[in-house]
Symmetry: C2
């Protein structure tokens, strides 16, 4: 989400995207792949998911510089059936491995109705929404899931065992814009806890526990060995369901692909603590693509989606609200604004980019 | 969940199951299909999901008696690809249509790695867990979703637009029992609100809103035109994510199959209000089956699941808890007890069964 309360400088997306691609190329990533990686980070920034945009470039650069990520992976299908494949990403950028694996899912969906791809030995893949938006171009319903470094506790636990484990899925309309679900599975985003620390403010009840597993509204207690809570927060309000959802994603992207899982998911940055042991290879993704035409006439489907969207937009609004949104509304609205007016970056991110510019010799100003 | 605080009478599962099958047969359901339907309701009772067991028999009987459900459906595959099919259930019992459609999913998974089946023109299918447990017998990861009569509001809405929309998925272990996720998508179960009304007690904050969309702890205000809240409850704690999850399931089981969706999902009992219009045929299910062997060696996978289970059981417990459970623990423990000691039924359910016995001539005592 954009931080309206702190000073920002606005950059055109083309400029950020060009810079990003050149930085990846300076790290040894081939031009075509660097361009795709840059496109994914740019889409994060455009859609207002600032934590998954160019703000991560310094981390990617550092991991590549240290040889912790392979800039020229040999991406390989290690097992395959007509509707499935398992892909080994050879420790490449998730931004490179993800799109190539996802293409296999979409091709299989065209052939046999659906395609389901497990990916291991990969790294963070940017916003999950990127993949499912690609599927829409082929009249497919796309699915994307990944695990991430541990930060969330299972209900009744007192330590970090699961990541933020996002899931995305999208459904195309005919005259209406698509429904795009792209959500992490804890109760709140870690970025919001960081913001509360910066401001010295408490966090809402239900977001976090301290290192003893006791609910806390002190963001510093969460940061000091505490954990995020799963969606639902506590037993009474369904915290076990949020835990199940995070676990479901972890089990599909980890054990099923041969990647690491749970608390053993690799650290995203060198600042993160390295896991105690390895139970697989790298991070995992799980992708799906379903050809709509395999189930129902595409236009009939899209007309139903339009009807669904209009029906839900017409829900009687709760007191003091404008009524429900349709999943994907906030990101689409952000994209409409930012494509025209540019991406607002906060000073710490600009400083990071200037540092990367200096290190790589790619000019930023 | 079992109601430990009210008087119950305990019945052996075999006796309830035999009675259930004979009632379905008395309603015109063929013997083999009546037996499967009875098996699914019995599994609900065994696993402690009392709201989806024999307690529903009176409603099924009534709907069959009134001709609202077809006892002898011609279940038909109306569209098919190698990994997909769309099934029309001819308005049969979900307990009959579901298992037949699910078998197609499993057969396709054996052939091409995965099978994905959309089902329309069907009715309630019992516990979602039944289907995914079947997949385990074939070393498959099973998925099951359905929509249900409207009871949940989207975040910022003030009316019932979505059902309880459950999702189930299961993963087999080698020496450990399977991980079985089977969850509805609102913050809490409607049964718990009914229980609070019976006792004249308030409900926890975060479960429900009144008819103006204002959060309420008065169960009677929820019942009188209010709504359940989605998992996450409010914006701060991720209520938009629970809404997305319920919507995702609704979109897969409704528009993709040609079934009704959202507020137009048919009423489960004649007491429920009939929807304003029809946008498809009957209720919808969406099933998946993934052959583990299509992704990774089955034994390697099961060993990883065992490791996952042991790792998560060893999570440091939160203060004043016994630590996290593994999804499926409560249901498996209930089943172990109830297979031996029988199913506790409350008097209103026993009265319902006696009424059904009288109506059908199938003896109950």
């Amino acid at each position: 989400m954009s931080e309206q309360t702190v000073a920002t400088t606005t950059y055109p997306i083309e400029r950020l995207s060009e810079f990003t691609s050149r930085v990846f190329q300076a790290c040894g990533v081939p031009r075509a792949e660097a361009d795709v990686a840059a496109e994914i980070l740019a889409l994060g920034d455009l859609r207002g998911i600032d934590s998954h945009g160019i703000a991560r470039l310094r981390s990617y650069h550092l991991m590549l510089s240290l040889g912790r990520i392979n800039p020229t992976p040999k991406i390989e299908v290690v097992r395959e059936r007509k509707s499935t494949a398992t892909v080994d990403g050879d420790n490449g950028l998730g931004l490179v491995v993800g799109p190539q694996a996802y293409k296999i899912a979409m091709d299989k969906a065209d052939e046999v109705g659906t395609g389901w791809i497990g990916v291991r030995n990969t790294n963070h893949y940017g916003i999950a929404g990127y993949y499912v938006l690609k599927a829409l171009e082929r009249n497919q319903i796309g699915w994307a899931m990944t695990n991430t470094s541990r930060v969330t506790s299972p209900l009744w636990g007192a330590e970090r065992m699961l990541g933020t484990n996002p899931i995305a899925i999208a459904f195309p309309g005919l005259d209406e814009p698509p429904i795009v679900i792209d959500m992490a599975t804890p109760a709140a985003a870690y970025g919001k806890i960081e913001m509360a620390m910066r401001r010295g403010e408490p966090i809402p009840e239900g977001w976090a526990i301290d290192s003893d597993g006791v609910p806390t509204t002190d963001p510093f207690k969460m940061a000091a060995g505490g954990s995020m809570l799963p969606l639902g927060s506590d037993r009474s309000r369904g915290g076990h369901k949020g835990y199940c959802l995070g676990a479901m994603i972890d089990l599909l992207v980890g054990p099923l692909t041969g990647a690491n899982w749970g608390p053993f998911t690799p650290a995203f940055t060198i600042e993160h603590e390295e896991p105690a042991r390895q139970v697989g290879k790298g991070l995992g993704h799980f992708f799906g693509a379903m050809q709509i035409d395999a189930f129902i006439d595409v236009d009939d489907f899209k007309r139903q989606i339009d009807d669904w969207i209009r029906t839900f937009r017409n829900t009687k609004p709760a007191a003091n609200t404008n009524g429900p949104m349709i999943p994907g509304d906030p990101e689409r609205e952000a994209e409409e604004v930012r494509r025209v007016s540019g991406i607002p970056l906060i000073q710490p991110v600009i400083d990071d980019l200037k540092y990367v510019a200096q290190e790589t010799g790619v000019p930023f100003d």
